[in-house]
Symmetry: C2
Subunit: 647 residues, 2 copies
């Protein structure tokens, strides 16, 4: 066993004083420029909780004798803290107090700890997003973030003042470290072909001092295709400046955002030298100038795509393991950090609830999950049976309770009420979805009942992304819950994920094949044409087509007309008339406009895709439902302006 292997074997163990001593010996040849990478999972705003971890790792690093120990962005506070620091400035005062006490325990090992700093000036925002450079019992210096991401899930500019000046490099035990914070390293014009958001490049500025190593403290969430982009970009920077790059990322989920960790180190040629685990807290020792590092595997598919081009595709295979881990971490951390332990969900025997059940069982432990089958008169025997088999396969708790009585009682009461309302109001729908919704809402009533009655239990919303786009989800019904695990997973990807789960979990084929094979449908209504339960695709459009629309809008920012002109993958394999395509596109935009409200009240979910409709990621006014997504020709507009002028 080499020294390196021995070091990483020891790091897998609990770091006792004996292990520290052993490591202290082992790293001696690597001491100059040695760095402890602390990929921690903070609880946002729980400074004591975070401080405990920080103190622990500083202590390890000090006892082992590392030169530097590095934590992620805002590690003492947790990222993102959002508007909390504006309304409750006390927690900023607290993080300052904790920081100065932590500084006191530092010795020769320099610790880089992210914190919220008060802006000493009256002008500008109240706070800086900063990293304290601490050693010998003192805060030696402070590095401030310059580039403040304010898009998608990021809102840095809401509460942070951007630093105007790049900090000088830090001299630590004879080496120069160029320290930056997250977004500060994402603005290389050459890498992004000139399309950059900011007008300064902090890394370029730091490079002028010829640092020996770059260090970047980050809190960078996982999103589809981002792994590859990040890898390429960091590698590019290391190579461009011939300087090793140490990138320390936060891990763990905070509400809707899942951070993957996967902290990494590139050598001065841009080669990956070390990478921490994904979706796990880890303490890793590296030395980028002396070749000390270990590369932990990413998801299988991702390793493959790292070498591919940056193009977006609908091919899900390389992303399924990451999707799975992202959601698992999202569920687990939301429950743990809010103090919940158990989940209750409806098991319909359909794809959405089945996949949710698997994810919950894996995230919370099967004994902490209760699946409840709540059949109505429309529910088929097959569905009931599938739900039961699924529960058995997963080892989760299971109950079956028919909703017939509730639906009947509610329907009767409502019929009576409708008769009264009808005497005053016109516009009663003849064939409405009212009764469909009664079923969905009765089920949610049961789930919330269980959540209210049993401690630490949250009900689960099982809506998927395709159906949320179409508003094909019932308010106070299937889209109601304490958490929505698959709200950012489109239906076609859910099918792929279900197959992947069946193949890759230790218990194979937990999801009965019949669930994966049958056409999705909520079993809320009977199709008058067939006499069978209505199939969702008949009410909407083929899911392959629907999901491709979503993908084109989100990732390619295509418009209605762009899509009309593009050939869909679906069109290659199926004959679709121009009229049919227009009908589907029209239906999509019409339904999407009216779904905006539902997006606004969706429970916390976990963002998985490169773009989402999660309200922490994307905000569109509900009153914008009259947007003309098709646009008008210049001639038509000219004509209309003339009409307006004459009226």
């Amino acid at each position: 066993m080499t020294i390196k292997e021995k070091i990483y074997e020891l790091l897998e163990q609990e770091i006792t004083p004996e292990v520290e001593l052993e490591l202290r010996e082992l790293i001696k040849p690597y001491k100059e420029g040695s760095i402890g990478v602390c990929q921690i999972n903070p609880i946002v705003g729980d400074i004591e909780y975070n401080a405990r971890k920080i103190v622990k790792y500083i202590s390890h690093a000090t006892n082992i004798g590392l030169d530097v120990v590095v934590f992620p962005e805002l590690s003492l506070m947790g990222y993102p803290i959002e508007d909390t620091i504006d309304r409750h400035p006390i927690i900023v005062e607290e993080n300052i107090k904790w920081l100065s006490e932590i500084a006191k325990i530092t010795k020769k090992t320099t610790a880089l700890v992210g914190f919220v700093e008060f802006n000493p000036q009256k002008e500008g925002k109240k706070y800086y997003n900063s990293v304290a450079v601490m050693s010998e019992g003192k805060i030696q210096n402070i590095v401030r973030k310059l580039l403040l991401p304010t898009y998608s899930e990021f809102n840095d500019y809401r509460y942070f003042e951007p630093s105007k000046q790049v900090s000088k490099c830090e001299n630590i035990n004879g080496l120069k470290y160029g320290i930056s914070i997250c977004e500060d390293c994402w603005n290389n014009s050459e890498f992004f072909n000139g399309s950059i958001l900011y007008h300064t490049n902090p890394i370029e500025e730091l490079s002028k001092e010829n640092p020996d190593v770059f260090i970047n403290c980050s809190a960078s969430p996982t999103r589809a295709k981002k792994e590859q982009l990040k890898h390429n970009m960091l590698s590019f920077i290391a190579k461009k400046y011939s300087t090793p790059f140490v990138y320390v990322n936060q891990v763990g989920a905070i509400d809707n955002i899942s951070f993957d960790g996967s902290s990494r180190v590139f050598d001065e040629n841009g080669n990956l030298l070390a990478r921490a685990k994904s979706f796990e807290e880890q303490f890793l020792i590296v030395n980028p100038r002396k070749g000390l590092g270990k590369i932990y595997p990413l998801a299988k598919g991702l390793e493959k795509t790292l070498t591919e081009a940056k193009a977006y595709t609908l091919e899900y295979e390389p992303d399924l393991e990451r999707t799975y881990k992202t959601i698992i971490q999202g569920i687990r951390d939301y429950f743990r950090k809010t103090g919940f332990e158990r989940a209750v969900l409806g098991l319909s025997g359909g794809l959405d609830s089945s996949v949710c059940a698997v994810l919950l069982a894996d995230a919370l432990g099967s004994k902490n999950v209760f699946g409840i089958s709540m059949p109505s008169k429309i529910t088929s025997d097959e569905s009931k049976n599938d739900a039961k088999i699924l529960a058995q396969n997963l080892g989760i708790n299971f109950a079956q309770i028919p909703i017939k009585d509730m639906v009947t009682t509610t329907t009767n009461c409502l019929d009576e009420l409708f008769k009264t309302v009808e005497t005053k109001w016109n516009g009663r729908y003849k064939e409405s979805f009212t009764s469909d919704n009664i079923q969905a809402r009765s089920r949610a009533m049961f789930l919330w009942g269980v959540s209210n009655e049993f401690g630490k239990c949250l009900p689960i919303a099982t809506s998927d992304k395709s159906e949320l786009y179409m508003g094909y989800a019932t308010i106070n019904g299937d889209m109601s819950g304490g958490f929505a695990p698959i709200a950012d997973v489109p239906k076609t990807k859910l099918f792929a994920l279900a197959k992947w789960l069946n193949e890759n979990r230790s218990v194979k084929n937990a999801i009965p094949e019949t669930i994966i094979l049958k056409k999705p449908g909520a079993e809320l209504a009977i199709d008058p044409k067939t006499g069978k339960a209505l199939i969702a695709e008949d009410a909407l459009m083929p899911y392959e087509f629907l999901d491709e629309i979503i993908w084109r809008i989100e990732n390619k920012k295509e418009s209605y007309n762009d899509m009309l002109d593009s050939e869909f993958l679906y069109e290659r394999n199926n004959s679709v008339t121009g009229k049919q395509k227009i009908e589907w596109l029209n239906k999509f935009y019409r339904r999407m406009s009216f779904a905006l409200y539902k997006w606004s009240i969706l429970p916390p979910s976990v963002i998985v895709d490169s773009r989402s409709i999660n309200k922490c990621d994307y905000r569109q006014p509900i009153t914008s439902s009259h947007i003309n997504y098709k646009g008008l020709s210049e001639e038509a507009i000219e004509q209309k302006v003339r009409e307006f002028l004459n009226n």
Copy 2:
């Protein structure tokens, strides 16, 4: 009648070609420097709708022969358009096409129209927030916004690039106009005693060219106490630079945000010369250099407070008319702009639902409101009676339907389910709020049923701000609905508002006095001590105390310890022991932490207060529920750090 009076009388009429001709004559003495102020109510993203208004007013201004005609910020697109322009760039292309067609119809009158401009550079955000200066058939110039508000309800920096350079003054018919956009005028260091957000002051820059008039195109929402601040600030600027100031504001509500209009003009001495109506679309003609203007009244109380100091108080009286109009506009525009017309709400005979009913009747017309009394066995006869009388007084539709059958059926089903769950899970609550919630959720089921069954109808969530802070609202129950009218009104203000409504509406005393006199309580549970329905204050704390905590946190950013040290107004009039105060404060913070989830799924509401918990205004991670709001002493922290070090 003076010329001025005649002008404003004509402007109250429909502006026919004859009226235009008459005005053309009348304004002759005021022509040089005359300005048409177009305070329009746009639909965000509905460019055709907005363009129609813009063309109409440009046409009027041109035919009347005004020098300039001015529209609010982003008037062609509507403000705020939010992330929509990122995901659907087509609407930006559309607004450009419309703008260039509108430019073609301009003649001698210069039109200032707000629009979203593409950033021609690859670097930076994709768009500018701009104003087009158009005349003689062309876009003559473009003014770009420099200061991008990104706090509270504002997110400008998410999608706009800040302009780096102040535009030159515009020469229009011999006069120099210094044009700016909204926030650009909110950064005067002297006025704000050095506490400013940005490092440049565009107005100061513009002043160096000695403009004859300042013009500011705004979209500035109404919030408590803002009217006074805005008045003082604009007056200050006009006086400081000895330059008249024309401030044109958007009117109308967009989702949660209500813009009050009240566009205004100050003369070069800082005196108010003109002010447009509040909460109404208006076309006003002014000439700040020749004393042409009319001051429409604000709310009564606000006129009074304009002269008072800027201190925050809990005194609601001056703010009730504004509160009323803000909510009315919020409801009306949300319904109109999303295509809904009718509302259904539960009438409990309590304060919240009663005030909501009045507001809905006034906003939508009483025939468009259905109040439904849904008594349970706990509901008192008095409450049932009050609900009915209220409906009669308002002339709204009314139905009564007992929820007994539904509650019984649901309770029976749930009891059965709980027995099964109990065999697997411990932690069943002995005396739970489960059954309280069944009542609230059954009612919501009825309301959503009516909404599903009858066209263009939304159910209403009646939760108030005090109870939302305490999480004292039922998910899928009273806090569920398509819109939440009073979610930003604390309970004590609701009492004041109820009295105000009874005194100031044309139909006096619509709300039965018994409703205002009785102690609030949801009538969901029986208090075992009294045998009567549980009173909310017993479960929470006195509303006066609760609302003062909220006010101190929101407006004064006080901490737990600050409040412990402050004397509450409530304490002056009531004897409160130190122990009692601590108990209430502890309860407040504990409940607030667990209410964060509920805030995240609150339906669209209308922001009324200077600060709110509306999710478009304030975002706090739900997983931050472990924040230690009390803080720790330095000694305690030092002690803990030492402990962490030794473990």
